[in-house]
């Protein structure tokens, strides 16, 4: 059995105080093994992003422990945390956050620039990452010249360029149509398979969640059994595969119809 790369114990996150107090996470204990792909799934507002931010060391928990490779991160200095995020983690967001004034290559090598690598080394590794995603011919283009799918591939190249051990993806396909989503999903799972990269994918897309090795269902800041998480695929959106839990639930936002229409709904949700 692989050792856990990420563990959390009784993770609590409270926003605000007094009357505005909001408990976003109410005590989560979980572990993620090296090389595994885990989907964090739940309704909007259930605390998925909050959990990811804590595991990715972008935020500190109100209570509880996050441990990386068995070592609690509260022991780490700020400087070590910055270095860890830079070297060991890759990030893919629903929105691309590409700098429109820079070329694709410049965008991709940003983490290496932050790490302080020489320009030659940066460009070499940047092109390598772009080649892997079949984007090498777009290296010199401005980031704005790309289609949505190409943009997300550039973002994955950026997440990949430091050769991280974990990639965090928050709604990576939220802004993409279903066909492009599939391309991006295949790339991510290919990275897991070929390079042993651990994937933590935050989503409310059951199709994507189903492709992961394991699913963690969140509801109101707690881990719940699949049947309790109102997020299961609607019958109408079913593409034939059984839902992870096999249970049936209705999607509150889905107007029914095709996968494509649901994808566009998802896009709206993400853009809200």
């Amino acid at each position: 059995m692989e050792p856990a790369v990420l563990e959390t114990e009784n993770l609590v996150k409270v926003y605000g105080r007094g009357a505005n107090r909001f408990d976003a996470l109410k005590g989560l204990t979980l572990d993620i093994k090296r090389g595994e792909s885990v989907a964090v799934i739940g309704k909007s507002g259930s605390g998925k992003s909050t959990l990811m931010h804590l595991m990715a060391l972008l935020d500190r928990p109100s209570q509880g422990v996050v441990a990386l490779n068995g070592r609690p991160v509260s022991e780490l200095k700020n400087k070590e945390i910055h270095k860890l995020r830079n070297e060991s983690f890759g990030f893919v967001f629903q929105q691309f956050f590409l700098n429109p004034n820079q070329t694709v290559l410049e965008n991709v090598v940003l983490p290496l620039k932050i790490a302080g690598l020489s320009k030659r080394e940066r460009n070499r590794r940047g092109l390598e990452a772009l080649e892997l995603l079949e984007m090498a011919d777009k290296a010199k283009n401005k980031a704005t010249d790309l289609s949505g799918g190409q943009k997300q591939r550039a973002c994955i190249a950026r997440a990949l360029v430091t050769n991280p051990s974990v990639i965090f993806a928050d709604e990576p396909t939220g802004n993409l149509d279903s066909k492009t989503s599939e391309v991006v999903e295949n790339i991510l799972f290919g990275l897991q398979r070929d390079r042993g990269i651990t994937l933590v994918i935050v989503t409310h897309d059951d199709d994507l969640a189903a492709k992961c090795d394991r699913q963690i269902y969140l509801k109101d800041g707690l881990i719940v059994a699949p049947e309790q998480s109102n997020t299961a695929r609607s019958e109408a959106a079913s593409s034939g595969e059984p839902a992870p839990s096999g249970q049936e639930a209705t999607e509150p936002w889905a107007g029914g119809g095709s996968t494509a229409s649901r994808a566009s709904e998802l896009g709206k949700e993400g853009n809200r």
Binding site: L58, H82, L84, R85, F97
Partner: protein, 427 residues
């Protein structure tokens, strides 16, 4: 991020919104330009004064005058006569004169090596070896050591020697200044009874005429000057021999003792001033005016600094996402701070270098137009209204970069504090 990457990234960012950067740079430019002109004006005028007073006596010489013994109050009112004290000896312009006793007293002050009263000899004419006679006014013997010599040297203190200006060498029939050295001149002086007598002196040196007019008159050694003076006063009744002296020159070789000597002089009712003391007052006024003008330039720079604050705050606001991403990708708050303060410093550098450059060109051209041939001030010989002091210019650029850095700290700190999660939140 490496320092060089921080700077190049900052440069790229400032070039991103060109219009905004341009306007901010203009504000800095105006301040830098004004400061370059005002401080250059100070440099120019000070260097003019330097040239003007060049050679006005040695540093070690103290010019001593009697302070007026009149009571302060209305100087036009008649003063009561006190038979004990006798009348104050006064010169032409109502100045009190130094008596022989005063001269003696000066000589006794610790630190004073020698003291010479400045006596005015009015010769009838000066005659050269070729027999030509010229009207002449003699220079002060105390100045001879500060002259610049085209040929020869200063006259020996106790020899019958004299210096002549370069222009006189020509009139006295010498082809070159060198030829004049060793030549003879005769100086005619009349005594009280109107009897004229000539005295012969050897030309010891030929002096350059300086901008300050120093060296423009034939100047005798002090011994020769005394001989002429003694004859000029001959025939005056005993006791009335000297009216007193308008001024005396005291030699104080030990510069450290000068202030003590000055103090003793003040106690004895006299005033001693070095050349520096005399110029110092003028310089003080010029420096004060320069600083007032510089003050206006600094006010312009202060306004420009707020321009930088404003520009960068807008930039930080616009680039919230970018900052959040960089922080998420492991950039430390310190480096984010460095990135934005580099932008501020770059804006300062750009504005100040252009401002200083244009300021130097405009100052130099304006100076040439005003004081050069055909200019409004061309008749003031040697006047310069603008001077370039390279260190000062470098100082201006550094000062503005410092101001820009300080202005940049507020936006930069705001950027450094940004929370990556807040910054990356989907809206």
């Amino acid at each position: 991020m490496k320092a060089v990457d921080v700077v190049t990234t900052a440069l790229g960012n400032t070039m991103r919104s060109k219009a905004r950067t341009f306007l901010t740079v203009i504000a800095i430019f105006i301040g830098a330009f004004t400061l370059t002109l005002t401080s250059g004006l100070g440099v120019g005028i000070n260097s003019y004064i330097d040239r003007l007073v060049q050679g006005f006596g040695d540093q070690q010489q103290l010019y001593v005058q009697k302070t007026s013994s009149q009571q302060s109050g209305n100087a036009n009112e008649p003063q009561a006569y006190d038979p004990e004290k006798g009348a104050d000896k006064q010169g032409q312009f109502g100045m009190s004169l130094l008596s022989e006793k005063d001269i003696e007293q000066i000589g006794n002050i610790d630190g004073v090596e020698s003291v010479e009263p400045v006596v005015a000899v009015s010769p009838s004419y000066l005659e050269g070896e070729n027999g030509d006679q010229f009207q002449v006014q003699l220079g002060y013997p105390s100045d001879v050591n500060s002259y610049e010599y085209a040929a020869g040297e200063a006259p020996g203190h106790d020899k019958d020697e004299i210096t002549i200006p370069t222009t006189w060498a020509d009139s006295l029939g010498y082809d070159k200044p060198e030829d004049a050295v060793g030549g003879k001149v005769k100086i005619a002086v009349s005594n009280v009874t109107g009897e004229e007598k000539t005295f012969e002196a050897t030309i010891s040196g030929v002096t350059e005429i300086m901008l300050s007019n120093q060296g423009a008159q034939p100047t005798p050694s002090s011994a020769f000057n005394d001989r002429l003076y003694d004859y000029q006063q001959e025939g005056l009744p005993e006791g009335a021999q000297t009216d007193g002296y308008a001024m005396a020159v005291a030699d104080v070789p030990d510069l450290g003792k000068q202030s003590e000597v000055k103090k003793s002089l003040t106690e004895d009712g006299m005033l001693g001033m070095t050349v520096e003391d005399q110029i110092g007052t003028i310089r003080g006024i010029i420096n004060a005016v320069t600083w007032i003008l510089n003050g206006f330039a600094l006010i312009a720079l202060l306004a420009a600094a707020f321009g930088i604050v404003n520009t960068l705050l807008m930039s930080v606001q616009e680039r919230t996402r970018e900052i959040g991403l960089m922080k998420a990708l492991g950039m430390s708050p310190g480096k984010i701070f460095g990135l934005f303060s580099s932008e501020a410093v770059l804006i300062g550098l750009l504005g100040s270098v252009i401002g200083v450059g244009v300021g130097v060109v405009v100052g130099t051209v304006a100076n040439a137009l005003l004081t050069g041939e055909g200019g409004a001030l061309s008749n003031v010989a040697g006047l310069s209204l603008y001077g370039i002091a390279p260190l000062q210019l470098v100082g201006i650029v550094l000062l503005i970069m410092l101001i820009a850095f300080i202005a940049g700290t507020l936006p930069a700190a705001r950027a450094a504090r940004k929370d990556p999660i807040e910054a990356l939140r989907y809206e």
